[in-house]
Subunit: 384 residues, 2 copies
């Protein structure tokens, strides 16, 4: 199995791009990545996306993106794992290079969520959950997260207000990210008075509906140094699943797939959680930040919120998270998010994160979650 | 790169399974494949599917199928490339084993197309074409194939009736396939008097809307013999793309991606087209059979129809095709089709195709087409 490195990254600003179709979104990120890697052609491309069929009436997105990039002929496929589609596509790209079936591979994560009604977007996102046993009962995806948050508060005695710092920290970091949807700070007071969407989830607990695209270029590690001045090695890629319906998990707050996925990644990279310099976790909702920190081994059960309260998730804390805004403030264009996380981790590892830079970042971890936790994919990246 | 073999196959009958949800369809095929391979657990599974979001309101199908199989925890992803989703998932499965990232891998192709209106199914299938530049102009997917057929007849002087034997041959072979949707013979006269759907495409030129699922189990070649009494080696996997919109291809009748994909497969397997004992091609419409035979090197341009007229596509002909009914008569549950083709090829290579058996079949080729030809994936399989 060949080791793999990231030799190029690209992204477009996350936002409401009402005047931009999904293929144009992908094009922007892909062109930036090709330019960054200084390559004109790739052997294969894998497109991470969840909703192109539902929202844009377009499946077959691999061929669409390859064509629009002027690369028709090339291998191109779409990979889907709900909100973890981006990291899923990266995983397939890693397989392609690791196996020797391809050398230079592009992975694009792209999602277009505007150009439809809000009601329709809610229905679209619900397809990440169990259509037959959850959604058909009338629960929405936000409501599933509200159930998790409510249970967590009940089990461990936290109040809504205790989650505020996850959002405050994300927004504080997004200020330094020119690609963030909300590059502005918020206060705990603003969090506390935000409208409730699905009790206890408030507006500032939730990541926004938005459009975006991000891309990375992969190459075999042994040639990466000759192709890039600052290659980043993929030390580990790990994935795990859990029952699709939350009620089928013996202990939903355990986020079992995150635990499995993290442990597999640590084992593959031969490291401990404490060795990681920062953690781009999947803060689709503040409750997921708390659960992810616990499942990945950074806090005891029920104590993820404590890390936020104590400021340990900040740039100078014990485990910096959402260092360029996370899903909350950079934005969460679902199928693109996993690649945004990786692009931001590469910026940190290259030392190019500007005012958001984590000092001496050598080892970064990203974790992309599909549904309410049924698919969880972890990558560990290392500066060379 | 490790060589890969198929150690198990499974399928369910293709048909209108109104009382069966998509997860149940997948379960049936997967259980059959596990039993055939005599394994209880896999390291990863890849699900080929196009329409689960549109028709069943369910994305995140990898996790759904893993869960329903009682394998939650395992790696699971959905792969999509329109009607080539099945072969696309197989390709990802091959990468997983070839790279060493997984040892025992299941690939499931599944599609549920009933439980919706015919109009809605037409809209769903159109997502395989270019939503912005073809479908928004009002053309349907059948109509795109009608344009190809009309142009072919114009260029090369064939009549509608000359295509009859593609359908007649497929139905004759399906008689021997207990999993076929239409296991009954038809006559050329029936073809000629069939209703026209989109002139010149008639009802018996077209594959049916249906439900189905098929699965294969993969393992490294070097352990396959100890796991299976009749492993089949995957000699080549090759994919190519073409512009998504038919009007953007310089020569639509060339089926350029099929040519590229076939040539890449022959080169990887170190064989010529003539070495192949049978060819499971993608006869979604009779015109695609003619174009595929030409692009894959079995006929000169414009002469694919001649092979049908001369009976060379029959079991005892020069290049037997659709040996167990093909898309036309076995049925075309789109995301499952690529795996049905492979399952049938394995049956031929094991010598277990019954009355449909190709004598002394050692080398088989399958080709799965996405859209009107924008993604084409070829596999070459060898009896060991």
């Amino acid at each position: 199995m060949r080791d793999v490195a990231i030799i190029g990254i690209g992204q477009i600003p996350v936002g409401e791009h009402w005047d931009t179709s999904i293929r144009h979104l992908a094009l922007g990120a892909a062109m930036n990545a090709l330019q960054d890697a200084n390559v004109a052609q790739v052997d294969a491309m894998y497109v991470g996306n969840m909703l192109s069929g539902h929202i844009s009436g377009q499946e077959h997105l691999g061929a669409v993106v390859a064509d629009f990039l002027g690369m028709a002929g090339v291998e191109a496929l779409k990979v889907e794992a709900a909100c973890a589609s981006g990291a899923a596509a990266l995983r397939v790209g890693l397989m392609a290079v690791a196996s020797g079936m391809s050398d230079i591979v592009m992975v694009v994560g792209v999602e277009k969520m505007t150009d439809t009604s809000g009601q329709d977007t809610t229905a679209a996102l619900a397809m990440a959950a169990d259509a037959e046993y959850e959604i058909s009962q009338g629960v929405s995806f936000v409501a599933l997260n509200a159930l998790l948050m409510r249970r967590y508060m009940h089990e461990y005695g936290w109040a809504r207000e205790d989650f505020a710092n996850f959002a405050v920290n994300a927004h504080a970091n997004a200020v330094h990210n020119p690609h963030a949807m909300f590059p502005k700070a918020i206060t705990a007071a603003a969090y506390n008075r935000a409208a409730i969407i699905a009790d206890p989830v408030g507006l500032l607990d939730a990541s926004p509906v938005c459009d975006g695209a991000a891309a990375v270029i992969l190459a075999p590690l042994d040639v990466a140094r000759s192709l890039s001045p600052a290659p980043v090695r993929v030390r580990a890629s790990a994935i795990a699943t859990d029952p699709i319906a939350m009620h089928d998990r013996p202990d939903p707050l355990a986020l079992h797939a995150a635990r499995l996925s993290s442990q597999r990644a640590y084992a593959a990279a031969d490291i401990q959680a404490g060795d990681v310099d920062f953690f781009e976790l999947h803060d689709a909702f503040t409750i997921m930040s708390a659960l992810s920190l616990e499942a990945a081994g950074f806090a005891e059960r029920g104590q993820g919120v404590r890390l936020a309260l104590d400021g340990e998730i900040a740039r100078d804390g014990r485990i910096p998270i959402t260092t360029l805004g996370g899903l909350k403030a950079r934005g969460h264009p679902v199928g693109a998010t996993g690649i945004y996380q990786v692009v931001e981790a590469v910026l940190q590892l290259r030392g190019l994160a500007g005012a958001a830079q984590i000092p001496n970042a050598r080892l970064g971890m990203t974790q992309n979650i599909g549904g309410s936790g049924a698919t969880i994919i972890t990558h560990i990246l290392e500066a060379l």
